[in-house]
Symmetry: C2
């Protein structure tokens, strides 16, 4: 069965507080970086999925995001996939 | 001064324990996903930097990663940048 390298980027929905991002945004000027704004911190998940085809892999990862990897109430996510050649 | 949208993906260096990834990898089979392997969880940081040019922006973000955003002893990071058109 072919393998696919899946990449998920999970970020806060607009309007949801991002305390880690806000903390970094406050810390950077203290280090001399006064030219930085709109800091957002999210989560990235990489995984390898065996599936019949890329569409199936993406559908399964979308389900995993809804059930475990992300919280759809406060987070959005973007899935990208790469086919891994089998040697 | 032009603005650049910078994206940093921070991941564990190879060989460094990734407990969050290991937990997800153990949890997925319990949800019925037995076709998943090599789960790695990292951090993603998006920020807007005002700089004279894209090279300067990347250099500054690289410094920020070393000083604040990542821990180079246990983490590696990849920086990507996009130029934001000024209206």
């Amino acid at each position: 069965m072919p393998s696919f390298e899946m990449h998920v980027e999970v970020t806060h929905l607009p309007g949801i507080a991002d305390p880690a991002g806000a903390t970094v945004e406050r810390a950077l000027p203290a280090l001399g970086y006064t030219n930085v704004s709109q800091v957002h911190i999210g989560k990235t998940i990489r995984l390898v999925v065996d599936a019949a085809d890329e569409d199936t892999a993406r559908r399964e990862v979308d389900e995993m995001c809804k059930r475990l990897l992300a919280n759809p109430v406060i987070e959005s996510y973007v899935i990208t996939s790469t086919s891994l050649e089998r040697a």
